[in-house]
Amino acid sequence: MKQLLVLSGKGGTGKTTISSALIDLLHAKAYGDCDVDAPNLHLVVPESGLTEKKPFFGMDIFHINPDKCINCGLCLRECRFHAIEILEGKHHINPLKCEGCAFCAEICPLKAITPIKNETGYTQITIDRDTLFSTARLHIGKGNSGLLVSEVKKPIEAFVDRDDLAILDGSPGIGCPVIASIRGVDYVLIVTEPSISALHDMERLLKTINHFNVPCAVCINKCDVSLTVRDKIIEFCKKKGLDILGSIPYDQRVVKSLNTKKRMLDIPGPFTSAIITLSQNIQKWMKIV
């Protein structure tokens, strides 16, 4: 299996748009959305197939049994996450703030604090003919989870064969979900845009990627929004030894076609030609036949 992960650093550069085009052109056998905080890929991939949705449980959080609690306040004193509050005279754990460390449960003299399951999101797999789409979503207010990202990748890893291609649409930033998505992938494509913000963010992302020893290349999306900044990006990539596998021009019609759920690759023009060139370069880079 060859796994390609699409990242960006900065949000909004076009990861999902580009990922969906590559999934289409490269006939990915499996694909997934690792942006479990704000998933978007499901909006632009085919909707047919059999779907299975499962709840996802984060770390257990803790609950104070009001009948056993004597309000000694020891838990409130020790809780580092300000998760314990007094409501109507009783000690209570705020489920949005509890990080499941179990310290309170350990020190409660009456053993009034016990773990409870915490449903923090869901995973969803759709199988259509012989392709698999894996996605997930965190419920609002729940902590972000590297494990949920790993759960998105698991069914993909189980589904594909030796020479198959899997494409993962990543998340913005450089924190835990990005780190969890990078583990185990074979190639990372950074989709950037010609803005100072995106260049700055790409530099920080590279520091994170470099921990992992994964081959990495770049695609410049909306490349004609600023030619001066585009040139800065080209210079940066040259300095870092990063290949630029595609430069995609901005095309309003593409956004409009996405909004109406039409296949954007059906629109002839420089956008489509550039995406096709990108996909061909990726094929060569990843040694896909």
Partner: protein, 285 residues
């Protein structure tokens, strides 16, 4: 008055909007809470006055006192400790700083020490008080930096703009929690709409009044319209997609600073926001 600017989706124009709004509404405070990828400084280019490391408490072991009982390795819910080859190994990037291991060690071989996960800085541009947080690459969570920012930036200005990170997870919650009002910046696209719904749900969960700005609009109608109407969400402004504005933003220009027409545009938006904020946050008797 603290206004959190969030979007769910990245790249909707939060920072471009937030920095220009901070500029036209001087004296004001601007906080860049996107500690993983901060960009506010690129637009505002403030003079930085000071920088402070942000620390979390991580246990440190005295191997001489450690008897290898493994109480800590077995207790830790984050698996941030391991015992191998006769010594205790601690993993600072996995540690959540709960303090349990240090408390529970029967030999008192553990002691908590400060470890920097990044920093925040304070600066000025004209009458804007600027704050920004920066997370060290490799660190898993920027929440402690954001919480620090929300505490220290409680400064002299009446108006504070909080430029939130993308998404709707814990980092964003730390920003929205302290805000009086949430300004949702939606992109006029299917992605933008989907994430607007999530951002809206977050604001509702935290019981915050909400208003919307739809950015990068192509027509007079937006894909977000139906949702905003159904939810009775106030659309404060629709900003049309403008290649010139996009270009200025791409180059990191503080557009309102050197262009009177753009200054006026942002001032009008600021005025509309404040009118709506006053309306939403004034207690009704």
């Amino acid at each position: 008055m603290k206004i959190a600017i969030l979007s769910g989706k990245g790249g909707t124009g939060k920072t471009f909007l937030a920095t220009n709004l901070a500029y036209v509404s001087q004296p004001s405070t601007y906080i860049d809470a996107d500690v993983e990828e901060p960009n506010g400084n690129l637009f505002l280019r403030p003079t930085i006055d000071n920088r402070h490391q942000v620390f979390v408490k991580i246990p440190e072991v005295d191997q001489g006192k450690c008897g290898g009982c493994r109480r800590c390795t077995e207790f830790c819910r984050y698996h941030a400790l391991a015992y191998s080859g006769g010594k205790l190994i601690i993993f600072p990037t996995l540690c959540h700083s709960c303090g349990a291991c240090t408390y529970l060690c029967p030999e008192q071989a553990l002691k908590e020490v400060n470890r920097s996960i990044g920093y925040y800085e304070r600066g000025t541009l004209e009458k804007i008080e600027f704050y920004s947080g920066v997370l060290k690459p490799g660190q898993l969570s920027g929440v402690p930096i954001i919480e620090t920012l929300m505490n220290v930036a409680d400064g002299k200005n009446e108006l504070t703009w909080i430029d939130c990170p993308p998404g709707v997870a814990c980092q964003v919650i730390s920003c929205v929690e302290v805000a009086d009002y949430c300004l949702l910046v939606a992109e006029d696209s299917l992605f933008g709409l989907d994430n607007l719904k999530m951002a809206h749900e977050l604001a509702k969960t935290l019981h915050k009044p909400v208003g919307v700005i739809i950015n990068k609009c192509f027509d007079s109608k937006s894909v977000c319209d139906a949702y905003c109407q159904d939810e009775r969400l106030k659309v404060i402004e629709r900003i049309p997609y403008d290649i010139k504005l996009a270009n200025l933003g791409a180059k990191g220009y503080l557009a309102a600073k050197d262009n009177t027409i753009i200054y006026q545009m942002f001032f009008d938006i600021y005025y509309k926001i404040m009118r709506e904020v006053d309306h939403e946050t004034t207690p009704r008797s």
